[in-house]
């Protein structure tokens, strides 16, 4: 292997992103650090309207980490790469002494090609736009935390970790007019809505009755004192799209494996305060603030 991979030329704008993964536990219901590392970077590229193409992978491995578990992680990476239809073209492995890491940490960086005519950014939300979510909230965070703490929940919650690039490609083909795409990872839906409202200088109103949360996630959140709107996801995206294309985009989303439960959950409002409000089930309004600090560390 040479020191770098030499790729072809590209006629498109490029997207570039990086993410390190330190999730604990390394294996959790519905996935592991390997699937997470591939999907996380695939999704970050997708969220600027890019088609993910090439990934790098860097391992930091604690001396003595069992080889059979490492093989399971590599197998999981292979499966996720195949599903997302991307290529790992460069990699690196470092081994540190026992006690100097927690099993395995993984960094994935990625290059994507931005689809023609799209201009997607968290600063592009406009009053009147629909807020669409593709999938129920809170699965990843609650899968990791309930498996970590060993609560022995009878209804095992599975992480939603998934590559969303096929879903995004369908959306872009339905309309290149998408204003914002964000995956609702650390800090969950409420946090990314706040970031978008702030960056776009708008207000956003979500409707609690429309926001999909599974019974098992809702139950676990109640028991443990978490708010599902702030729990991390790894297969949930938020799309903010102009009113005139919301129907065609929603239709396209529902045809994708990871978009079948897509629905409009709110709307961008006039006003420049950056405030996000939730219309509750009983009809009152509550402000969804930014949380200070992280609700759950090492969730990804």
């Amino acid at each position: 292997m040479d020191d770098s991979a030499v790729l072809g030329q590209s006629k498109r704008r490029l997207a570039f992103t990086t993410d390190s993964f330190t999730v604990e536990p390394i294996f959790f219901p519905g996935g592991d650090i390997g699937r997470l590392a591939v999907c996380g970077t695939v999704n970050d590229l997708s969220m600027v309207g890019a088609k993910p193409r090439f990934l790098s992978i860097g391992f930091i491995i604690e001396e003595g980490y069992p080889l059979d578990q490492l093989k399971k992680i590599v197998q999981s990476i292979y499966q996720a790469v195949k599903e997302a239809d991307v290529m790992i073209v460069t990699g690196d492995t470092k081994v540190v002494q026992r006690g100097k890491a927690d099993g395995v940490y993984i960094n994935t960086s990625g290059i994507g090609e931005v689809f023609d005519q799209v201009s997607i950014s968290a600063s592009h939300a406009k009053p009147g736009d629909a807020v669409i979510v593709n999938s129920p909230l809170g699965c990843h965070g609650m899968a990791v935390v309930t498996s970590r703490e060993g609560f022995g929940f009878t209804s095992r919650i599975e992480s939603d970790v998934a590559p969303l690039n096929e879903l995004v490609e369908r959306m872009v083909h339905a309309s290149a007019k998408i204003h914002v795409l964000r995956d609702a990872t650390r800090g969950g839906l409420a946090t990314v809505m706040n970031e978008i409202a702030h960056q776009s200088r708008v207000e956003i109103e979500l409707d609690e009755t429309l926001i999909p949360v599974s019974e098992s996630v809702r139950g676990a959140c109640e028991l443990l004192g978490f708010d599902p709107l702030y729990v991390a996801n790894e297969g949930v995206l938020v799309a903010i799209v102009p009113n005139e294309v919301e129907k065609s985009i929603l239709q396209a989303m529902k045809k994708s494996k990871y978009g079948r439960e897509s629905q409009i959950v709110g709307r961008v409002m006039k006003g420049h305060s950056g405030r996000v409000t939730l219309k509750t089930q009983i009809g009152s309004h509550r402000i969804l603030d930014l949380l200070s600090g992280e609700q759950l560390p090492r969730i990804c």
Copy 2:
């Protein structure tokens, strides 16, 4: 910040690489993990004949790591990025609990644009080619290990960690016919020569009297039982170039800050065994084998 950086289009072939850095100690004579992380990735891109353009940076930080030291690392990254004339366009930070990392680990990935008409690979060495080295060997490895073990050497050895892209650009402009470029990092000159001889299916002969090693490095190696030919470098490259352009490339190298001491240290020979031999100072020949395992762990 959006989830990915959106870059422009490029008319050139792209190079892509990744590297994680776990060096211990984090600060060593002549550099630190920050400078190392930038230069390592800049150099990996340079070694395929690419002009480094965009870097990503991912931190894994141990909880409680002193903020002033983190600031020093960031400052050092900033200086190296400025010197190498590249841009950090995307980043990520993860914090893990105390005891789950060793201060700071850094991953840098990078995108470069391959210079037109070059075709540089470790498999391209040809009989008759000159083997050129730009700088004295062994400084990085001995700087790290002597500072780590606290031997209190009176002659402080400084790491050679440096961005080699300006040097490589001069070389490519002198001639696009360069066959091989490699930075002699882990395993040192002897290891990369073996890899090149193997990949190119050639034999290589180095001349010990021509290989630059400083007195202080030679002394430290003798005391500690290391062979400078196998010690890691972070500012040394090996170039393998056709006989007809060796003079012009050498001249160009000597004009660069990091190439002033460039010299021809050996030659590619006929034969397909992949063997690397060293003509010693007393005129005998010894085979430079691959070492099994690493001489020095966590050197980068």
